[in-house]
């Protein structure tokens, strides 16, 4: 381990360094490029995460909207609810729905960016 030098330095002998993560022998980007099993696993996990996120986003918006005509159509008590002079139906579907979907969309964009950032960190070994 010690190199021959004119003035030998004192050295501490330890085990392998644990504080620095070992870089993979090959960058994962190469694995993906070569379409090896490892590369496919990384890519599939990204696609699955993004698909799950996308479908959750759609469900978050579509499920309440689909419930709306059923609830209002068949439960007269809900149908007659008012907020001030405005019937609840018009308050929800005439105005509040638009900021609501904007909010869900904003959440989706953040999460999708985060998934991609994680993937980037992973494959570039940072």
């Amino acid at each position: 381990m010690t190199k021959p030098e004119q003035r030998p330095k004192r050295e501490v002998i330890t085990g392998p360094r644990r504080d620095v993560r070992r870089r993979p022998a090959r960058p994962v980007t190469d694995e993906i490029d070569d379409q090896t099993r490892v590369g496919q696993v990384y890519l599939r996990s990204l696609i699955r995460a993004q698909l799950l996120l996308g479908l959750s986003t759609v469900a978050l918006v579509v499920v309440p909207l689909v419930a709306m005509p059923i609830l209002f159509g068949f439960v007269p008590r809900i149908r007659e609810l008012q907020v001030g002079p405005m019937p609840l139906w018009w308050l929800l579907l005439g105005s509040l729905v638009y900021p609501a979907i904007l909010g869900v969309g904003w959440w989706y964009v953040r999460q999708a960016d985060r998934n991609e950032a994680q993937f980037t960190d992973l494959v570039e070994g940072r």
Binding site: I32, V58, P69, F72, P87, I101, G105
Partner: protein, 580 residues
């Protein structure tokens, strides 16, 4: 009504559009310039352009009209038009941008490596484009007839000529500036009158539109009948008429018993103050309270119609060819997501307004329920509710906004359709690409113009929802599977596109030609997306699984390209052929 101001409003929109197009085409001479320039376009401006192209006559005029006639059930039109972008954002935007494909046919060819699927996709783009342009031209005809008293074909012809001038002049290659401007014009043109309308309504002691009675004429009202109509009368009514009523010539006082009555065109009817408004036979007569609540219209299978409409609009948006083209102007996948997010905000902002017009229309312009021309409510309400000089200026403003609506959408669609026709049809016969594009543009404008002369006019927003239904039954399953499912094969895609396209088109054709179909056949055929889209999706999956040997060679490389962020240094050697 002062026609001069309204005409000036429309003419100004046309001139500014042509001027901006000419100006921006001088800025960017080549398509290369256009793309390079587009890389520096911020997401919000790009989103303005997408929203400008998207908000058509159906949104500007039609949505308020349908809400006025149909009430609570009709809110699904604006909600659906906006929610479609949530699906587009969450499932399509970034991967589509990363595919590098410019148009939907490009995407098909790139993802499936099949020129046959490309051809089917091209045919569908043309079909959807024409279905979508048709109501724009009819909307223009309606607006000009209402405001300037011209025959209905004049508006469509003027829009077609303007679109041709703009496109053949070459300006629309750099559309971002023009269409971004048109979005903001439309928002101002619909929002500013809302403030005045609400003020006028409050000054009028805020009468409720949600009463227990059907709408009545507040004052003595004269209505001129432009098209022959059949109306339902609910209680005995004495009115004055001049013209032909129930097949007999009348001039003077007339009593209508409850039941159906026909009125010939050219007849003038004068209703006394306080009379209940007779409704056109195809418009449900609703009390104010029934109007304000869902599923009260008495139409058959309302719940199915509601869900099928949601299905068509939610899924159809991602398959609209003129919208997807614009996502290419984003620099990368992340920017495409941001753009789609801003579009949700911009489109949602616009859709706050139509319900107000719909509600106030029942109070201040109830004669539209008699003539059935509720699509005109946005144009007529400022004069009817505000009146005076302010009313005239507001009418000019909504007229300018309406002109922006037909022009933006008609131009965007015509460019898209002409591009496809030129690339896949005309250029095989004509060598010069510019000549080829011009021939294609003329064809792209001419066909819907001629169709508009023969086709019966549907309510605008309803007519546009048919184009959404075809998009939902064809491109929506193709994009979803093409992006997320590597096993989609060219054979599966072709089978699903053909099946979905044929089923949706046939259903629309039958329900338009035989409008009186009752029961389930009527409901299913008039809203086909809810069954045609699942059928197309199942066909794509089923045929793909049986033709697994045809899975696109190198599909893993394609999936890498679609889904890895641009920041990751992987090879992206695969490129779409359409990339220029």
């Amino acid at each position: 009504m002062n026609p001069t101001l309204a005409a000036a409003g429309m003419a100004l929109t046309v001139l500014v559009t042509i001027g901006l197009a000419a100006y921006s085409s001088r800025l960017a001479r080549t398509t290369g310039d256009f793309y390079v320039a587009s890389r520096s376009v911020p997401a919000w401006w790009n989103a303005s352009a997408i929203s400008g192209e998207y908000l058509s006559a159906a949104s500007f005029l039609g949505v308020a009209g349908l809400i006025m006639a149909g009430g609570a059930d009709a809110v699904w039109f604006p909600v659906g038009y906006a929610v479609g972008y949530v699906l587009l954002l969450a499932l399509v935007a970034a991967p589509l941008r990363r595919s590098g494909a410019y148009t939907l046919p490009d995407f098909c060819e790139a993802r499936l490596r099949s020129s046959k699927v490309r051809l089917i996709a091209s045919a569908l783009v043309v079909l959807i484009g024409w279905l979508y342009v048709l109501p724009q031209l009819q909307g223009a005809g309606l607006a000009l007839q209402i405001l300037l008293d011209t025959p209905t074909w004049v508006g469509g012809l003027l829009v077609s000529i303007t679109v041709l001038v703009v496109i053949v002049g070459g300006g629309m290659r750099s559309v971002t500036l023009v269409q971004g401007f048109q979005y903001w014009l439309k928002v101002v043109a619909i929002m500013v009158p809302v403030l005045f309308l609400l003020a006028a309504w409050r000054a009028d002691a805020s009468p409720s539109a949600l009463t227990d009675a059907p709408p009545v004429f507040d004052d003595r009202t004269t209505v001129r009948i432009e098209n022959p109509i059949t109306v339902n009368v609910s209680e005995q009514l004495t009115l004055e008429a001049e013209g032909t009523v129930d097949g007999a010539t009348v001039a003077g006082s007339l009593t209508w018993q409850p039941g159906q009555h026909t009125v010939a065109d050219g007849t003038t009817l004068v209703f006394p103050a306080g009379a209940t408004v007779p409704h056109l036979s195809s418009v449900p007569q609703l009390t104010g309270a029934g109007w304000g609540q869902p599923l009260q219209s008495g139409e058959e299978h309302t719940l199915y119609r509601t869900f099928a409409l949601m299905f068509a609009l939610f899924l159809g948006t991602m398959g609209l060819p003129h919208v997807l083209v614009r996502f290419y102007t984003n620099p990368d996948g992340r920017a495409a997501r941001r753009t789609a997010l801003v579009v949700i905000g911009l489109v949602g902002l616009f859709y706050l307004a139509p319900s107000v017009y719909g509600m106030l229309g029942r109070l201040y312009a109830p004669e539209l329920l008699l003539t059935g021309r509720t699509d005109a409510v946005v144009l007529l309400l400022p004069q009817a509710a505000v009146g005076g000089l302010a009313g005239q200026w507001l009418t000019a403003l909504v007229a300018a906004g309406a002109a922006a609506a037909f022009l933006a959408t008609a131009t965007g669609l015509t460019v898209t359709v002409a591009g496809v026709l030129s690339q896949d049809v005309v250029s095989k016969r004509v060598r010069d690409p510019i000549v080829s594009f011009r021939i294609a543009a003329a064809a792209a404008v001419l066909v819907p113009l001629l169709l508009g002369l023969v086709a019966e006019s549907l309510p605008l927003a309803r007519a546009v929802s048919l184009a959404f239904a075809v998009a939902a039954a064809t491109f929506s399953p193709l994009l979803l599977l093409g992006i997320w499912w590597p096993k989609l094969t060219d054979a599966g895609a072709a089978a699903g596109l053909l099946l979905g396209g044929v089923m949706a088109t046939a259903a629309i054709a039958i329900s338009t030609l035989v409008p009186d179909l009752a029961g389930w056949p009527g409901a299913l055929l008039s809203q086909p997306a809810a069954w045609a889209m699942p059928a197309a999706l199942a066909t794509m999956v089923g045929v793909s699984l049986r033709t697994a040997h045809r899975i696109t060679p190198g599909v893993d490389r394609i999936m890498i390209r679609l889904h890895t962020p641009e920041a990751v240094a992987v090879q992206r050697t695969w490129t779409a052929r359409g990339l220029r």
